[in-house]
């Protein structure tokens, strides 16, 4: 409500205005009062219900307060109880510690008395058991306890005795162990070996024990090696006797592990195999080296390597007959295979042991990397890496020289009893050699070895072998008057006489054909070599290949695919030679004769004939050349040859057609003749030749139309996919002498 200051009113108008405002205000006030009064009964009613409810709330409050109190009390109680339990627990621990100490004290005395008796009775196990018990006690704590119960003097004496006994026992056990070793008393060796860990002498025990085992190993190996050197040449194993010696060494170690691992695990606990193997490996290294040295000496290995290296580096012309290397190559792969096998054995044993005994990941991976180093850098493995390298070198030489020999002794042969086509002996021989070498490398069990030999094989095939084929094909297929049938008979008769007979041209033809077949057959051989090797991989390595190693070998085998790419290009070169010297020069005159046979393709109805003589002449010429090649080309080379001939015919024919004039009858005649030709060729080959003639066929469609306008029925609709351009369609239509050139020009294409 506004406050009114009368003194501010200075005029009547202002007073009037004020009065009016006040009146208005009064009216509003009245209205409000009326409203409020009308609500009164409602409000009073609500107030009454409210005050009734209020009365109910009182007891609720009281109850809540009560609850809070109860909870507080319970909490305090609980805390009290748990504090008491804690105290009790502490007390109980103290009591059991106390008991332990009392036990220790009692045992201590017993031990010190017992150890003396046991030592006197030479019952070293008992003595060691006492010392072991004593070593588990906490000396300082015991001394404290003893002071409290004034047992100090007594106990000091016991400790003193036990320390003495410990030292003495250690000496005795070492002495006794060494004595047992000297006496070769295996039972005692094992007896004292078991005592070391009781005296906390694990490393000492393992060290001495493995030294003992190694000395046994050394003896066995020396004996084996001496026997090996005395092996007579006639002996069945003579050629692999050093691989056998190495096998015996590894087997002896495996036996040691088999027998002693359980013993070691029982008395020394798991997790000891890495150090055991590290000890044994030293002896193994020593023995393996000796075996390999003897191998080198007795197999005249150094000389062989020297000659081969000199020859390969083109520093000398002296060679070794590859046959002389055959046996030593096998033995080399065996040496390597045994080592791989042994390495896998050690790896598996130690890894398992590490897995069960060590939980800490970083400690585990450190142990495993130590193992890895042991198996990579150990002398045994280094020596074998050298051996493997030398194997690869000799295998490379063997492969290259054998291939060279096969080439030098190359003669023409019939492919097989079923197939009469001719190739030369080197194809079979070269692939036999290559396969033999790669298979031999597989028996080395070394992934790197296998990969290297595959790489080298691919090298020989892709460069030297393919170059040879190419150079032979490059001499070309001599064209000339004589027919191929004669070359073929030359080949046939050469088998009877062991030498190529006939004129120089015939000889060169036979030679060329044989080399084309060689190339084609080689591609098949490469493909089957690849797949046969892929399956051999699994047979040779079994489960041992990791995915990484598999990938590595697969990548190298992929090299064979490159060989085929190269061979294919050589083959195509050969075909192109054939094309330019045997196909083109013949097809052209035959077609010329065919088209000249009739002066014109503008024929009358009665001139139309179903069996066209010119076409029959053409086909019989064609048939003779195809037949002569069919006999002497390999099936797939023959397919390629027909393909080539067909393409050439289609091309030449197209050209000739465009030089002629036609009317509709003439078009029908050509159509008829083309059908005869395609029918003949379809019979001559296994794949469809129709595709090759589709342009020509489309030309005959145009040449047989009744009216120019009919083109519209074919062009841009219907089943025909046009191989001719619009321009070509016009050109063909214009060959029709009965079509008006304006109509042709006006065509919308």
């Amino acid at each position: 409500m506004t406050t009114i200051d009368i003194s501010q009113v200075s005029s009547l108008e202002e007073l009037d205005a004020l009065e009016e405002a006040l009146n208005k205000e009064e009216e509003e006030c009245d209205k409000k009062i009326d409203e409020l009064l009308s609500n009164r009964s409602e409000i009073e009613f609500q107030l009454r219900t409210l005050s009734k409810k209020l009365a109910n709330l009182k007891p609720v409050e009281a109850e809540a307060k009560h609850f809070a109190e109860v909870i507080r009390n319970t909490a305090t109680l609980a805390e009290d109880v748990s504090a008491k339990v804690r105290v009790l627990d502490k007390a109980k621990n103290r009591v059991s510690e106390c008991q332990q100490r009392v036990n220790d004290l009692l045992d201590l005395q017993q031990c010190s008395v017992g150890v003396a008796t046991a030592m006197q009775n030479e019952d070293f196990e008992q003595a060691a058991a006492h010392v072991h018990r004593f070593l588990t006690m906490d000396e300082n704590l015991l001394k404290h306890t003893a002071m409290d119960v004034s047992e100090g003097k007594n106990m000091d004496a016991s400790f003193h005795k036990l320390h003495e006994a410990e030292q003495k026992l250690k000496q005795v056990v070492i002495a006794k162990f060494d004595e047992a070793v000297k006496d070769e008393d295996l039972a005692s060796v094992e007896r004292f070996f078991k005592i070391f860990p009781l005296l906390n002498m694990h490393e000492e025990g393992l060290g001495r024990f493995t030294t003992y085992l190694c000395s046994k190993l050394r003896e066995t190996c020396q004996k084996n090696l001496t026997e090996a050197k005395l092996t007579r040449d006639k002996d069945k194993r003579a050629s692999v006797i050093y691989a056998d010696s190495l096998t015996l060494l590894f087997e002896a170690i495996a036996r040691i592990v088999e027998i002693h691992q359980p013993l070691i695990e029982t008395y020394y606990g798991p997790g000891r195999m890495l150090s055991v193997m590290e000890y044994i490996q030293k002896e193994c290294d020593h023995q393996a080296k000796m075996i390999v040295d003897e191998f080198r000496k007795h197999r005249d290995f150094i000389r062989k390597i020297h000659i081969v290296t000199q020859y390969m580096n083109q520093k000398s012309e002296t060679k070794i007959d590859p046959k002389e290397l055959d046996l030593v190559l096998s033995e080399l792969t065996l040496l390597n295979a045994r080592t791989e096998l042994y390495s896998r054995f050690v790896k598996k044993r130690v890894t398992n042991d590490v897995d069960v005994s060590i939980t800490d990941e970083s400690e585990k991976s450190e142990k495993l990397s130590n193992l890895d180093r042991l198996l990579k850098d150990g002398d045994t493995f280094r020596v074998m890496q050298v051996v493997l390298g030398q194997y690869i070198l000799l295998e490379q030489y063997f492969m290259a020289e054998s291939v060279q020999k096969a080439v030098e002794m190359d003669t023409l042969i019939e492919a097989s009893s079923q197939e009469s086509f001719v190739l030369s002996s080197m194809t079979d021989d070269v692939f036999f050699i290559v396969k033999k070498c790669i298979k031999r490398s597989l028996s080395s069990q070394s992934v790197d070895g296998v990969c290297a030999v595959i790489n080298n094989a691919c090298g020989i095939l892709e460069s030297d072998f393919a170059d040879l084929l190419l150079s032979q094909l490059r001499q070309g297929f001599p064209s000339g008057y004589l027919d191929l049938a004669q070359a073929y008979s030359v080949l046939q008769s050469s088998f009877q006489h062991g030498k190529l007979q006939g004129s120089d041209i015939e000889k060169s033809r036979a030679h060329f054909v044989a080399y084309l077949n060689n190339t084609d057959t080689s591609m098949e051989y490469v493909t089957s070599l690849k797949s046969s090797l892929e399956s051999s991989m699994n047979d040779s390595f079994g489960q041992h290949l990791t995915p990484y190693e598999k990938d590595k070998i697969t990548s190298c085998l992929q090299g064979l695919a490159s060989v085929n790419i190269r061979l294919k290009s050589v083959f195509e070169f050969g075909l192109s030679q054939l094309k330019s010297s045997a196909v083109k020069p013949r097809v052209k005159p035959w077609l010329d004769a065919f088209f000249h046979a009739r002066t014109s393709y503008e024929l009358d109805e009665d001139q139309f004939t179903d069996d066209s003589v010119p076409m029959q002449t053409f086909i019989s010429d064609l048939d003779s050349i195809l037949k002569s090649f069919k006999g002497c080309l390999s099936p797939s080379a023959y397919e390629a040859f027909i393909n080539l001939v067909t393409t050439e015919i289609a091309l030449q024919m197209e050209k000739s057609v465009l030089k002629n004039k036609f009317n509709r009858i003439g078009g029908l005649q050509l159509d008829k003749e083309l059908r005869i030709l395609v029918g003949y060729l379809t019979n001559a080959t296994t794949w469809s030749v129709r595709d090759k003639f589709s342009r020509l066929t489309q030309m005959t469609i145009l040449l047989t139309l009744e009216k120019v306008s009919e083109v519209a029925d074919y062009w841009g609709k219907g089943p025909v996919t046009w191989r001719l351009t619009a321009q070509e369609v016009r050109q063909v239509l214009s060959l029709r002498s009965d079509f008006r050139s304006e109509d042709v020009k006006r065509l919308k294409l």
């Binding site: 390298g389 290259a400 291939v403 030098e408 691919c458 990938d551």
Partner: protein, 208 residues
């Protein structure tokens, strides 16, 4: 099946300990392996990279530098598209061996192989081979040149990417039917007469 447009084989060679394995692992795994042990035989790794939107698969063969693995590693030269010859800029002896390595390359590798000289370990304070000496050697022998640090990841990515780039360029200008050149193994002369093969060599490129 696999999605790439080019596959190239890259082979690393050079003395033991120059850092071939570290270079490869830096490139393929992006790390510098602590306590890298000497390579045994040959290691093989694959990395697919993207060069101007084209997927290029690099098959990387990391050879062992130690002498006793030589006959294994030599078998990889022939099919290599690129050869990376590595030396250690802080070790004169590894540089002095380069001519020997080049001789091997001449003997075994394809004549068209892309050859790259790499001086590794540029992060080391005790450098013995100044950059220009390496550069000069590379130029005289027709090689690409780069200095790297596998440890600091310096130029490593660049090295392999540039090789991939160059190989693509080379592949694109090559004739569709590739001829075989060089890489002839030393011991084999398949032709009955040695002269014959020599003469055929010269016209091989023209005919195929």
């Amino acid at each position: 099946m696999e999605d790439y447009k080019f596959l190239f084989k890259v082979v690393l060679v050079g003395n033991a300990g120059v850092g071939k394995t570290c270079l490869v692992r830096r490139f393929t795994q992006g790390l510098f392996p602590p306590g890298q042990g000497a390579t045994i035989g040959v290691d093989f790794m694959i990395k697919t990279v993207d060069i101007n939107g084209e997927k290029v698969k690099l098959q990387i063969w990391d050879t062992a530098g130690q002498e006793r693995f030589r006959s294994i590693t030599q078998s990889y030269y022939r099919s290599a598209h690129a050869l990376i010859l590595v030396y250690d800029v802080s070790s004169q002896p590894t540089f002095d061996c380069l001519p020997d390595w080049l001789r091997e390359i001449e003997e075994y590798a394809n004549t068209k192989v892309l050859r790259v000289l790499v001086g590794n370990k540029t992060d080391r304070e005790d450098r013995e081979i100044p950059t220009y000496v390496g550069e000069d050697f590379a130029q005289r022998n027709n090689m690409y040149f780069m200095e790297t640090s596998a440890k600091e990841a310096d130029n490593v990515e660049k090295l392999f990417m540039e090789i991939a780039h160059a190989l693509i360029e080379q592949a694109k200008v090559r004739e569709p039917v590739s001829e075989y050149k060089g890489g002839a193994g030393p011991a084999i002369h398949v032709n009955s007469s040695r002269n014959n093969s020599a003469s055929s060599e010269s016209c091989c490129g023209r005919l195929l």
